[in-house]
């Protein structure tokens, strides 16, 4: 236990928050963050993730529980004494100051000598590849450039922690991908710890060391991206992260961590989620890209009889819509190559997949 304690950089201890003295917005949040980790708080809007970030930054008080950095509670520390950098969705660059003045602000607040400030500002401008832009006003920059300035400004005073509140929410898709890459690059290069809030799951999956999925004020699962995607702990996570098909059925037997489930399209063997009962109804979750349409060369041990509804041409892949006899929609993603089959409407088809690729949830 002691080892964990020394390694833990930031710890949330049963943190709760209520705004109206009646309802909890954050209901007992626990998390341990190691130095240098990139943690993403992911969840639908109103799930409490931003509130957690604001409590960490000190702009919202903690109703109960403890936020601990390096073994010291910061609940009572004023926000300007926490030494936490922050990046906002609207960038929050000071419009009446030039880019260089914006970067110099946290340093001048710390009474750093002028020459040193100049040097540091130049260094960080080159770090975000904006060396030429020091004299511009924020209003003269594009969205991506603004966000890079905001990033540099949050890093320049070398805070122990950088918080990002949906920093890429205002950018278009291409820029967003560029900036994701940029943030990851800087994070790897400088090694700071990041707490990142977003509702965009692709962003979360591609950047984070660990993701905490929020819903309704509670963390549903906190795990590395691949684990979150492959082994969701419950139906909410399975549904929220990526696309998923849910096939309703009845559990007929559970043995050695595998369950046999009777569905409308035939019996299937699935992996078992925690706390799944030995009998009763359940939902089998399976990703659209893990399903294959008969005939296929891929390995498989489950088969399901379905009817073809329609297919949508997306470009790099094709989405097939099938329906179970009871009406449940099943989506299949097929790479757009010569093997993508054609169907008549209402034609019968068979879907195949591996038992290790699906999980049954209660």
């Amino acid at each position: 236990m002691n080892d964990v304690e020394t390694e833990t950089f930031l710890r949330f201890d049963n943190v709760k928050k209520s705004y109206d003295q009646k309802n909890l917005v954050v209901k007992g949040f626990d998390m341990q963050v190691k130095e240098g980790e990139f943690i993403t708080l992911l969840g639908p809007s109103g799930s409490g993730k931003t509130t957690v970030l604001m409590m960490l930054a000190g702009f919202e008080s903690v109703t109960s529980g403890d936020i601990v950095i390096r073994g010291k509670s910061i609940n009572k520390t004023a926000p300007n004494k926490r030494n936490i950098g922050m990046v906002f969705q609207n960038y929050a660059l000071f419009p009446h100051m030039s880019v260089a003045e914006n970067l110099a602000y946290p340093l001048s607040v710390r009474k750093m000598p002028k020459a040193k400030i100049k040097e540091r500002v130049a260094h960080y401008l080159s770090l975000v590849e904006l060396s030429e832009f020091g004299n511009r006003r924020p209003g003269q920059l594009s969205g991506g450039q603004k966000q890079r300035v905001a990033l540099a400004r949050a890093m320049i005073f070398e805070p122990m922690l950088i918080l990002m509140d949906e920093p890429l929410g205002a950018l278009d898709k291409n820029l967003r991908e560029q900036m994701q890459f940029e943030i990851t690059r800087l994070h790897k290069k400088l090694g700071f710890t990041v707490i990142y809030v977003t509702h965009d799951q692709t962003e979360a999956l591609s950047m984070s060391s660990r993701i905490a999925v929020f819903n309704d004020g509670v963390v549903q699962q906190c795990a590395p991206p691949s684990e979150l995607y492959e082994r969701p702990i419950n139906a909410f996570v399975a549904d929220f992260i990526g696309e998923n098909n849910f096939i309703p059925g009845k559990i007929t037997s559970v043995r050695d961590g595998k369950a046999t489930v009777h569905t409308d399209g035939g019996d299937v063997v699935t992996q078992v989620s925690e706390g799944l009962p030995a009998s009763g109804s359940c939902r089998v979750s399976i990703r659209p890209e893990k399903l294959f349409i008969h005939p296929t060369t891929h390995a498989h041990d489950n088969a399901l009889k379905v009817r073809f509804t329609t297919r949508i041409y997306v470009g790099d892949f094709i989405r097939y819509y099938f329906a179970l006899p009871d009406g449940t929609d099943i989506i299949v993603k097929v790479l757009n190559d010569l093997s993508a089959p054609e169907f008549e409407e209402g034609e019968e088809a068979q879907l195949l997949w591996l038992a290790t690729d699906c999980i049954a949830f209660a």
Binding site: A57, F59, P79, N80, K81, R82, N83, I84, G85, M86, F88, Q89, N90, A92, F94, P95, H96, Y105, P106, V109, R110, R153, A154, F157, L163
Partner: protein, 438 residues
């Protein structure tokens, strides 16, 4: 490379120059307008301009009638005074030869006596009496009584010994000062009203000197001082309120906004009268103070500078709060939070980040309040007493009581110049593009 591909390539290479030419021709014909296009485009622009003009025509007409014309008239009136020149034109011509020392010639007196008789019969002698009286106090009654005396005298008598009759009617006609006053009131275009408006006058030699009584410069200074005090007070009261409202929930902000706007919805007279009820000797404030034992006798709260400033601050507060609120509402929380997260104390963050960002609202509010209070009339008139009078009250006095419209026009024009000057200064140092009025 296969022979087919090779063939294709040579073909393409051959075709390239031709393709290039076609391309050039294409872009030329695409980028330039032909005659018909140009005419169409010009017609489009003309149509849009005409539409835009038609939209502003009603306001333009209104402004010309309600704003440009009256102000031009006022400016003209402040230098144009043909009354005396119209009443006694011949006397004025004869007076041109007079040196200004000793008595003028008898011919002048004769002509003046004849003019007086005509004016007495036309009932226009009163106008002349007013004009001379302005330069030389006491001349009003002298002129009027003389006119009465001359009305019954026969024309032949006046022609024969008009001078004697005039001097018998009142001995002030024997003074050179009287004739100088008439002569100096003669010119149709005069700067004398502007000189009076800044407490100056012309001496006998035409040099500009200070007047004995200093009224207007002092009044302008006091008006400016009061306007500055009122502006500062509305800032001090309005800024925190607007700040709070801008960051409160919209329900609370709307509720508070009702209180800010309440003064707008009640009649100006009611508001001002309620201040009288509060501040007068037996009013709410004084009776409370006396009941508390703070003072034994009522404090003079009403009819002075204090009450004027108090009431005007109350009335003008919305003009400060509204632009401030509008600007602050647009300043996201994150700016202050960003500054604080970077280690700035809240007060320092406010000073270096929030204040500059809210400056457009603050300067717009300040400009509004300042300009409105400089020309404010009703409140100082009601609660100002003699002490709290501002320049507009004197202008009103000259228009309604002393009937000196020319001086009122000169004072008003100076006020206008002052405001334009202040606005120019403001533009110079703060910049009007920094204004945000809503």
């Amino acid at each position: 490379m296969t022979s087919a591909a090779q063939a294709l390539r040579t073909q393409r290479n051959k075709a390239l120059p031709i393709g290039g030419d076609t391309h050039d021709i294409m872009t030329n014909s695409i980028n330039t307008l032909n005659k018909e296009d140009a005419a169409n485009a010009a017609r489009e622009v003309r149509k849009r301009r005409l539409q835009a003009f038609l939209f502003v025509v009603p306001l333009l007409v209104f402004l010309v009638f309600a704003f440009v014309a009256p102000i031009t008239t006022m400016l003209y009136r402040s230098i144009h005074n043909p009354t005396v020149a119209n009443l006694v034109p011949d006397t004025l011509i004869l007076l041109e030869d007079w040196s200004g020392e000793g008595m003028p010639d008898d011919s002048v007196l004769l002509q003046f006596a004849a003019d007086m008789k005509r004016m007495a019969n036309d009932r226009t002698s009163g106008q002349l009496a007013d004009e001379i009286n302005r330069a030389l106090p006491g001349m009003s009654s002298v002129t009027k009584s003389t006119a009465r005396a001359l009305r019954r005298v026969e024309d032949e008598d006046i022609a024969a010994n008009g001078a004697t009759i005039l001097l018998e009617a009142n001995k002030r006609w024997a003074e050179a000062a009287t004739w100088r006053a008439i002569r100096d009131a003669g010119p149709i275009y005069t700067s004398s009203y502007y000189l009076t408006a800044v407490d100056l006058e012309r001496d006998r030699d035409g040099g500009i000197v200070q007047r004995d009584t200093q009224i207007y410069v002092k009044l302008y200074t006091k008006t400016l001082k009061m306007a500055v005090i009122i502006t500062v007070l509305t800032m001090v009261l309005g800024y925190p309120l607007a700040f709070f409202m801008a960051h409160a929930s919209s329900a609370l902000a709307n509720f508070l906004m009702v209180f800010v706007l309440l003064p707008f919805w009640t009649s100006l007279l009611v508001r001002t009268t309620s201040w009288i009820a509060l501040l007068q000797a037996g009013g709410v404030v004084n009776s409370t103070l006396m009941w508390l034992g703070v003072t034994d006798e009522p404090i003079e709260l009403l009819y002075n500078e204090f009450s004027t400033i108090l009431a005007m601050t109350h009335i003008l507060l919305p003009f400060m709060v509204l632009p401030l609120y509008a600007v602050m509402r647009g300043i996201d929380n994150s700016y202050m939070r960003a500054a604080i997260s970077m280690g700035s104390s809240p007060l320092a963050a406010w000073y270096r980040i929030y204040l500059p960002m809210s400056l457009p609202g603050l300067s717009a509010g300040a400009l509004l309040v300042f300009i409105i209070s400089i020309g404010y009339y009703i409140t100082p008139a009601l609660v100002g007493g003699t002490d709290g009078q501002m320049i507009s009250n004197i202008i009103a006095f000259h228009m309604q009581v002393s009937n000196n419209w020319e001086l009122a026009a000169a004072l008003g024009s100076l006020l206008l110049v002052l405001i334009v000057l202040l606005y120019w200064l403001f533009d110079r140092f703060v910049g009007t593009d920094n204004l945000k009025l809503g």
